[in-house]
Subunit: 414 residues, 2 copies
C-alpha cells in the first residue's frame, strides 16, 4: 500500500527514539492507555511508522517551553515518519491534521518543525494541481525570456477605484506585466470590490486592445466562500486573468474550491506565514508548505526576496524558490513570487543564487517611488534583470542603464 | 466611525514606540518609502492607530531570531492598535490578514503575539454566531445541571463502522452524552464516512427511541467544501445532531459556510493550535482566537484540560475556559471542550478553578480503559463531577463512589 512520508526536525527532553514513537502513536492509533479493540492487525495497517532517525546536536536549553528535562539536556534529531494512504484517502484537511495536528502540543517535544513531505503518485490522479502554473502565467501575460515584473497597489488601502485605475494605467503604459491588490484590501468603504474591478479592467482591456498586451491584475477575492465565488465570477466576466487569495486566512478547503474553477490564475499570498515558520524549531518549513498549496491548485506563491525587508535570510529565500521550481509529480508548476522591499538591485544576486528567470518579481515602493516616475521604475526593473542574466553586477548595470542608475541612487543606500 | 482594536505582546530591538508605529503602518497604508497618492486625509481615514503602549521588561536575548539589537537589549511591551471598520467591511479573512498577516515577519520585532481583539457591535448584525452554543447543545443532548460527558472513539483510526457502532452502543447504554470521531479519522479505507454514519446513527436512533436520550455524535466532516456539505447533509438525514470540523486544517472560510447551515451543532477541533500558541512570544493567544471562531459560528471549541497530557499549563487552560464563557456581544455562546488525558480526577480542580459546569468534559482512554468497562467509566465521570460541585476532593470522592474509586486506582498514579 502506498505511504505518505513526513520529515520533522525535533527536539526532545527524552530519547529521540521514544519521542518519535510517541509522535507516530499520537498521530495514528494511539491514546494514553491501551484500549480494547487496538489489535495487532489494526496497528500494522493503520499505525504510523518511524522510518528513520538522524541524531543531531544535544543542547542544554529547550527551544520552546512546556516541558523540562530531568537531565538538563535536550536532543535534536531529524525524524521521518510514514502513514498508509488508507488512513486518509484523499482529503487535504485530514492530511494536514495528521501531519501538523496535535503533535505540536506533545510534552515529549520541546521543538518540532515539519520539514518536508513526500506524497505517492496516486495523489496526482486525485488532484488536478495548478491550472496555469509558470507556462500558463507566461501565456496569459505574453512574457517570455525574463521574469514577470509586477507591483502592488500602494498605499495598501485608501485609494478609490478611479485612483487605482489611474495608477494601473500609468503602470500598464510603462510596460508592467502584473499588478496586485494589497492583502489588506478586499472591499473597503471607498473601494468596493465590483467598482474596483470595473475601473481597473476598463483600463487593462483598453490597453490590451491597443497594444495586444494584457496586464495581469490579481484582485484580492479573499473572503467567505460564496462571496469569493461571486467575486471570482465578476473578475472572469470583466476579462480579468487572475485572483488573489490569502492562503492562511482563507484556509485550504475554500482555496481549493476557488482553484477548482480553473478560469483564473490564482495568486497565493502567504501572509501569516511568519507565525508558522519564523522559529527554527516550531511550525513548518516552506518545502512542505508549498506542496500542500500546489495540490490545492495555487498557480503563484510568495517566497519573500533576497535582501528583503523582513526577517528571512537569503538562504531561506533561495531554498523556497528552489522548492517551487522542483517538479512535483509530472507538472504542478507554481510560479515563485519574489517580493518584500524589492527593487532592481537584488536582481543580480537573485539570479546568481537561483539561476532562474521563472519568477514573478514584485517591487512595491521600488516602482511607484522611482525618482523618474513609475514608468521609469518598470523600465529599471527590466534593465536590472537583463543585466543580471548577462552577468553584470549592480555597479556595472548602473553604468549601462540610466533608469536603473536612478534606482540605485534612491534605493541602493538602504 | 467604529474601530477594531487588537492588543499585542511584542518584543523589539528598537524602541517600543517605533516598532508599534511600523506595525500600524505595515498593516494599513504603509510601504517602505513614501509614495504618491498617500495623502494626509487618506492616512487619517484608513491608517491604523497606536492606541497605547505599556512598557514591560527589557531582556538581553531575543525571543525569536531574525533581527539583532545593536545595543544588545530587547524591549517588551503590550501594544494596542486600532483600525477603522471601513478598512475591511465585514470579511473574516481580510480581518485575519490585517490582525495576523505580514507583521510576524517584520524585522522590527523579535517576538509578537496577538493577545486579544475587540470588535464593534455592528459585527453582531453581520454574523449570526453559533447556532446552538451552550443552551442549544444542552437541549440537543438533554443534559442540564452538570457538564456534558463525552468521549473519543479510540483507536483513533482503524475500527470498522460496525466496531465503531458497537462501541457507541456500549457507551450509549452507559449513559454517555457525546461521542466524537478522532480528528485523524475522516473516511478511511475500512471506515467510509457514509457507512460509519449509517452504522453509528442506527445505534443512536434506536437508543433514543428506547430511552428518549439521543447521544450527540460529532462526525468528522473535515474535507473539501463540497464533500463537507455532502457529509453534513448525510448526518442531517441520518438524524445526527453534530459535525466536527478541524478548524485550522479546514480554514475559516469553509468552516463558516458549514456553520451557516445551522442544522447541526459544530464541534470545533483546534488541532494544529500548538504551533500557533506554544511559544510565549509568537502567534496568537486563545482569547483572540476563540472570538474569530465564534464569529464564524462554531458551537463547541477545544480548550485542553487541567493536568493535560500536553504542554499547556493549568493557568492557560483556565484562561481559555473563561474566554469561552465571557459573553460576546449579547450571546454568541460557545461550549468549551475539555480534553487531553482527562479522567474524573481532574473534575474537582477544574471546578475549583472555573466554577462552571458549562463544559463538554471529554475523556478518551479515561472512559474506554476503565477497569470495570466503559459503562463504569461514564458513571465514574458523572460521579466525579457531582463530587466536584459538592466540594469534595479526589480522595473524598473515591471514598464515596466505587466506580470513581476504581478510576483513581487506575489513572490516579499518572
Amino acid at each position: 500500500m502506498e505511504r505518505i512520508t513526513a520529515t520533522y526536525y525535533i527536539e526532545t527532553p527524552f530519547s529521540s527514539e521514544s519521542a518519535a514513537t510517541v509522535l507516530a502513536g499520537e498521530q495514528s492509533s494511539g491514546t494514553f492507555v491501551a484500549v480494547p479493540g487496538e489489535t495487532e492487525e489494526l496497528k500494522y495497517r493503520f499505525a504510523a511508522r518511524v522510518e528513520s532517525i538522524d541524531h543531531l546536536e544535544t543542547v542544554s536549553e529547550s527551544a520552546i517551553p512546556g516541558s523540562t528535562s530531568p537531565s538538563g539536556t535536550y536532543h535534536r534529531a531529524r525524524v521521518t515518519v510514514s502513514w498508509s494512504v488508507e488512513n486518509f484517502g484523499y482529503n487535504l484537511p485530514v492530511l494536514i491534521s495528521t501531519l501538523q495536528g496535535n503533535l505540536y502540543e506533545i510534552r515529549q517535544f520541546t521543538g518540532l518543525k515539519l520539514l518536508d513531505i513526500q506524497l505517492p503518485d496516486s495523489y496526482a490522479d486525485q488532484y488536478a494541481g495548478p491550472a496555469f502554473g509558470i507556462p500558463g502565467c507566461r501565456q496569459l501575460t505574453g512574457v517570455q525570456g525574463r521574469p514577470l515584473i509586477g507591483t502592488i497597489i500602494k498605499p495598501s488601502i485608501g485609494l478609490t477605484p478611479e485612483q487605482t485605475a489611474e495608477l494601473v494605467k500609468t503602470l500598464a503604459e510603462a510596460g508592467i506585466d502584473f499588478v496586485k491588490d494589497d492583502e489588506l484590501m478586499g472591499s473597503s468603504a471607498n473601494s468596493p470590490f465590483g467598482k474596483r474591478v470595473d475601473a481597473v479592467m476598463d483600463v487593462i482591456n483598453r490597453h490590451a486592445d491597443r497594444t495586444g498586451k494584457k496586464v495581469m491584475y490579481a484582485f484580492n477575492i479573499s473572503g467567505e466562500i460564496d462571496e469569493m465565488l461571486q467575486r471570482y465570477e465578476k473578475v472572469v466576466n470583466a476579462g480579468g486573468t487572475c485572483a488573489m487569495v490569502s492562503l492562511n486566512s482563507v484556509g485550504i478547503s475554500a482555496t481549493k474550491k476557488i482553484c477548482d474553477q480553473r478560469a483564473l490564475a490564482i495568486h497565493g499570498h502567504r501572509n501569516g506565514w511568519g507565525m508558522m515558520t519564523r522559529h527554527p524549531l516550531l511550525g513548518i518549513e516552506f518545502p512542505a508548505y508549498q506542496k500542500l498549496w500546489r495540490l490545492a491548485g495555487v498557480d503563484q506563491i510568495h517566497v519573500n526576496g533576497i535582501q528583503n525587508k523582513f526577517w528571512e535570510s537569503d538562504d531561506s529565500v533561495v531554498q523556497s524558490i528552489e522548492a517551487c521550481l522542483t517538479p512535483m509529480f509530472s507538472g504542478y508548476s507554481v510560479l515563485p513570487v519574489v517580493s518584500s522591499g524589492q527593487w532592481g538591485g537584488q536582481a543580480p544576486e537573485t539570479y546568481r543564487r537561483t539561476k532562474t528567470i521563472d519568477l514573478l518579481y514584485m517591487a512595491g515602493g521600488g516602482i511607484l517611488a522611482h525618482p523618474m516616475g513609475p514608468s521609469a521604475g518598470v523600465i529599471a526593473l527590466q534593465q536590472a534583470w537583463q543585466a543580471a542574466v548577462n552577468g553584470l553586477n549592480v555597479a556595472e548595470a548602473a553604468g549601462k542603464y540610466p533608469e536603473f542608475a536612478k534606482s540605485v541612487e534612491k534605493f541602493g543606500g538602504k
